[in-house]
Amino acid sequence: MIDRRSLLTHGAMLSGALFAPQIAWAAVPTERRLVFVIQRGAADGLATLAPTGDPAYAGLRGELANIGGGTKLDGMFTLHPALTQLAGRYLAGEALFVHATASPYRDRSHFDGQNVLETGGKLPYDRDDGWMNRLIGLLPGGAAKALALAPAIPTALRGAASVSSYAPTNLPDASAEYLQRIGRLYAGDPQLHALWSEAVQTRAMAENLVEDGGRGAAASGKMAASLMTGPAGARLVMIESNGWDTHAGQRGRLANQLIGLDALLAALHDGLGTAWADTLVIVATEFGRTAAVNGTGGTDHGTGGMAFMLGGTVKGGRVLADWPGLSQSALYEGRDLRPTTPLDSVLSGAIAGHFGLDPVRAARTLFPGGAGRPLEGLIRT
């Protein structure tokens, strides 16, 4: 673990050391920055970027079909109204959405799905290291500083290259969500249920547990930006975002999640300042959610989902989708959005373009379990 102070100290030492001959001619580390935001819990791509132009959409989604306005990006897709600042980046040509995408994983377990997304393998747990860690080895100088905004190093960053982690006090975490699940877990246990109800009531009285309107998430984005600036700042950063598993009451919960995410991304943009021009932010989740609303105003684990990227290097203002449609026959296994674009092709293509790497080599190294067809043209050249 490092803290911000030690990072700043290292930064000062490094800039002083630039005058030392032994490293004066060492390979200059890249100025390019990558932020990978993982949405743990399977974020609902069909609500975040709603295919309002698909004739089957309203019928499938029922009470969830009306996302409450939003920004129409084209004839097919509407961006969720909570993502106001992200909409601004889209209009500025700096945000790109990819719909109906998925990793090679086809079952519906969160852990297994996240493992495939993070390791870049074909099957869960067939690799121990993560694609972000392997990316370090591909970068000029091979010494880019990598950092996880999390208490422990997540799988995507694990591996041979050394990585730091830092847990800010206000990570937009799932604590509230976790506590709700604890409540459900104890519901069938009379002793624990009674204790838990009392504890929760006491806490609620002690501290007014109001939604913070994204301030915690904004603080995380600002923190991440500050850790990425300066010559010794981190070049690869992973941010974990929890709480996307919206099986019930999705409308309000997802809106809150998106408010937080929007605030986080805006804070990153603002905090990076001129470095934003050299930054690529990728936001992805392990899989999508069911096309239809379920019986509790939510959605269940699905397959195809939505990923997006933003940043100064992104050739944005577009939605990429080989749209499969939402008719019953078009759905994957009769229930999920059918994935038509391999997520690994999106990631390897964007990363290769952003860092100037050979796309095929990048795809093979980062996502050996993937399709091996990096998408080109995602990054400005």
């Binding site: 996240q114 604590s175 976790y178 459900r184 877990l185 069938g188 002793q191 624990l192 838990w196």
Partner: protein, 461 residues
């Protein structure tokens, strides 16, 4: 398979990540008697009680000197610099407490480690007394561990002779009024006399049990017999300094004469008298009943099953207080294998959670903080009665909330673990469907692990 879950959790300290559940649970428990190491390297590296007694004396002398200087300079007495000398003892305490935890996380005989904790709590010393602070660890390591698989009488004698106990319950400075030193003091007009603190707790807590038929006269007589059981290396009078730091029978303060305890006469002279009384107390039927009840409560449920109590009592009496014989009776007892689960104490729950994720050691500071926050600081029960062993003392709303929070913290630092597989390994054949589903439905591996660590199964043993 349910049996192996009982063996791991109720008898042991909880399953450890990566360990195979014991296929023959009873065999696994019995074999631990041979595997237990009373004095592993981590303990041998710690200062023993002679060094700790010396450390305490130096701290005390430094404190007195600081106080004397402050008074001489007519300065306002300042508490902080006077207490500073005790920092060495606080450090020693932290190190020893960490060793205790780390042994519990890794030792090959978790059932016997649990028994060590049980006896250390039965014969509790508490570090809220400065004199006990440094010595509490040595007490468990030197008096309890070497005797946990021996005879109850030997355990009792080792405990009552240990400097930690003698100082904690004020025995070390108890002076027989008719002893050589008692008479000298009386002639000089100094009041020095009996302190019956330890004698009373021996009868009430360590052996017979409260309201088991002894009276004040028995307490006083035992206190007289025990005069002279003291600690060398501390006193300022040369006559009481003893041969060195540690247990010392100080003949000059022993009350001479015959004693009568529970109707039995003890004509022995000197140290042998107290030893004879303690050996009789150790073999007394009330002691057998008392110990049997406490063990039955610890393993068989908050309401100890009467049939189990009486079988343990018989095992105690017929074996002459042979502890492994009593433990075997526990292992054979159907009440333990099928009884209602015990609510885990903070100590038990924390160990179980850390073992579950495969933690092998905890830094001293983190160790101290964890148990303080959860309400059960190591070796600080606050009274010679030790920590209570029933659910109402531990199953409180805020206590539960804190565990749930700590569970998330432990899970977030544990690294990649598949909680689904781990749950089946920790609770073989005993995992509730609701827990299994909650874990499988969690939105991330960390959340799944946190739910497992906070699950109803984990809260109990």
């Amino acid at each position: 398979m349910r049996e192996s879950s009982v063996a791991l959790n109720r008898f042991g300290l909880g399953g450890r990540r990566g360990d195979v559940p014991p296929p023959e649970p009873k065999r696994w428990l019995l074999d631990q008697f041979g595997r237990f190491d009373p004095s592993p390297p981590a303990i041998r590296e710690l200062p023993g009680s002679p060094a700790l007694v010396t450390m305490f004396r130096e701290a005390r002398d430094n404190q007195r000197e600081a106080k004397r200087q402050a008074e001489a300079a007519d300065a306002k007495p300042d508490i902080a610099p006077e207490l500073r000398p005790y920092r060495t003892l606080r450090d020693a305490y932290g190190q020893a407490a960490a060793v205790r935890t780390n042994l519990a996380l890794t030792a090959p005989a978790p059932f016997v480690e649990r028994l060590v904790h049980f006896w250390a709590n039965h014969f509790a010393v508490s570090t809220d007394k400065l004199v006990t602070l440094g010595l509490a660890g040595a007490f468990e390591f030197e008096a309890i561990r070497p005797n946990v698989l021996g005879k109850f009488a030997d355990l009792l004698l080792a405990v009552e002779r240990h400097p930690a106990m003698l100082l904690y319950l004020d025995q070390a400075q108890s002076v027989g009024p008719d002893s050589m030193l008692g008479q000298i003091a009386a002639r000089r007009g100094n009041k020095r006399g009996l302190n019956e603190n330890l004698a009373r707790e021996i009868l009430e807590l360590h052996t017979l049990g409260v309201r088991s038929g002894y009276g004040q006269q028995d307490v006083t007589e035992l206190a007289r017999a025990l005069t002279g059981w003291s600690v060398g290396g501390l006193a300022q009078q040369p006559m009481l300094r003893g041969p060195g730091p540690g247990y010392w029978f100080a003949a000059p303060i022993h009350q001479p004469g015959e004693r009568k305890v529970l109707g039995t006469r003890y004509e022995q002279a000197g140290e042998a008298q107290g030893e004879a009384i303690l050996r009789d107390l150790a073999a007394h039927p009330a002691t057998a009943r008392h110990i049997a009840t406490k063990l039955a409560r610890h393993f068989g449920g908050d309401e100890p099953p009467l049939a189990l109590v009486s079988r343990l009592e018989q095992a105690f009496l017929t074996s002459g207080g042979d502890l492994p014989t009593i433990y075997r009776t526990l292992i054979e007892a159907p009440e333990v294998w099928t009884g209602p689960p015990k609510f885990r104490t903070p100590w038990d729950w924390t160990l179980a959670a850390l073992r579950a994720v495969g933690t092998e050691s905890l830094p001293a500071l983190m160790n101290a903080n964890a148990f303080n926050q959860l309400g059960q600081p190591v070796w600080r029960p606050g009274s010679p009665a030790g920590w209570d062993d029933t659910a109402p003392s531990w199953a409180g709303p805020d206590a539960l909330y804190r565990r749930v929070e700590v569970a998330e913290r432990i899970a977030s630092r544990a690294g990649p673990i598949d909680a689904r597989a781990l749950a089946e390994q920790l609770f073989p054949g005993s995992l509730a469907d609701g827990t299994r589903k909650a874990i499988a439905g969690a939105e991330s591996p960390v959340q799944a692990l946190a739910l497992l660590l906070a699950s109803p199964e984990m809260m109990r043993r």
